[in-house]
């Protein structure tokens, strides 16, 4: 069965390593913070200028001057640092953030990603997404494998305006975990109860399946 949003986040959280500096995008990526495995500590970077993002504040702690990149009120974790946006993106662009997790509309087999614009429909802007995909050491994309209409989001070539090129290394969808390399999607794991055939049928780009594909373990 397709994973819930929470399960996608849980699976992404398995990719975390102790001591990682991580930037989590809005939506499912934000949920990843709730599932950091035992014995592992990560520090969250928020691109408006915060390294060491803490929990949401209690009602009494709410402070208009303390927000994250999603414009939500947050707290600073113990040992946090706060800096200006140029310094924040110097950190991101310079490759100092270990992992970025973000959503997307489409990803293609060359690791290109489209996540910020649907012509004539959605023109909100790219925010920090282009910097994040250009700068992070490692990028994981989370999204549903196909649209509500059943159209695959894993394509031979993105159709929407790109956010970045040749940058996505790993994708966690509601159906599968895939690596992107050498011009193809490589199926690594499948959601419990989801067949390889279903994944094949919902992947429009070049998909490589080698041997038995294990189910995700939670």
């Amino acid at each position: 069965m397709a994973l819930s949003r929470e399960q996608v986040a849980m699976r992404v959280a398995q990719e975390l390593q102790d001591g990682y500096y991580v930037n989590l995008g809005i939506g499912i990526p934000t949920l990843v913070a709730n599932y950091v495995p035992d014995g592992i500590e990560v520090m969250l970077q928020s691109e408006n200028g915060l390294l060491g993002m803490g929990a949401y504040p209690t009602k009494d702690q709410v402070d208009a001057d303390m927000i994250n990149a999603g414009k939500e009120t947050v707290t600073a974790a113990t040992g946090a640092a706060i800096f200006n946006s140029a310094d924040s993106f110097a950190m991101i662009r310079g490759g100092h953030v270990d992992l970025t997790v973000l959503g997307a509309f489409e990803v293609d087999q060359n690791g290109n990603i489209a996540s910020w614009m649907i012509p004539k429909k959605l023109i909100k802007g790219m925010g920090g997404a282009m910097d994040l995909v250009a700068g992070a050491k490692n990028i994981i994309v989370t999204m549903t494998h196909a649209s509500k209409h059943g159209d695959s989001k894993l394509l031979e070539s993105c159709t929407l305006p790109l956010t970045g090129v040749n940058c996505v290394k790993k994708i966690v969808t509601d159906l599968a975990v895939l690596e992107v390399k050498d011009g193809a999607f490589h199926l690594i794991e499948r959601a419990p109860g989801v067949s390889v055939d279903e994944i094949i049928s919902k992947t429009a780009g070049k998909l490589l399946v080698e041997g038995d594909v294990p189910e995700m373990v939670f």
Binding site: N48, T58, G125
Partner: protein, 232 residues
Amino acid sequence: MAGFDKVVSSYEAAMEGLKDGDTIIAGGFGLCGIPEGLISEIKRKQTKNLTVVSNNCGVDDFGLGVLLHDKQIKKIIASYVGENALFEKQLLDGEIDVVLTPQGTLAEKMRAGGAGIPAFYTATGYGTPVAEGKEVKEFDGRPYILEESITGEFAIVKAWKADRYGNLVFRHTAMNFNPMAATAGKITVAEVEEIVEPGELEPSQIHTPGIYVNRVIKGDFEKRIERVTTRD
């Protein structure tokens, strides 16, 4: 030191000299750390044909969004304008020009503008619509695009504390774009929560040295929050 006392006592004095067609660089991220009173003054003055450089354009009735009602903004350079329905309408109607710019590139363009760096290379946006018409150059086998710096006739920023010499300290994440904006204005105006005497701010903990700041005004801030999120 009279020559260095930057404090002005009215918003009129704070924004004196702003004229139609000027470029304004504004600090702030969303509604966090924005110079509320300076924005109101620009609305009151009804200055038109403005180019605004800011990460966001406020919301319909707060922040830079209030300058949309009377169509004071001709062009905006921003990274994210998704919180603002009026903005979207004016954009679709062709009444406003928008140059969407990646957030980090925007921050760096402001910094470069203040730092005398006319252009810099970045990988951000390569291969995307952002790269259109821009020079591409490879370094170490990776392609980068050339991005030019931004400066403006005015910069408007919001700080926590200022001393009379214009040294600024920002509070928490209300820092955001404010320090870079402060360097990129020909005239930089800081609206602050508190004015202190020179010497009260620790020299090595000043975020913006007074050399960048031409005018300081004490403001009253509503500090509206876009998304109040709490835990139990």
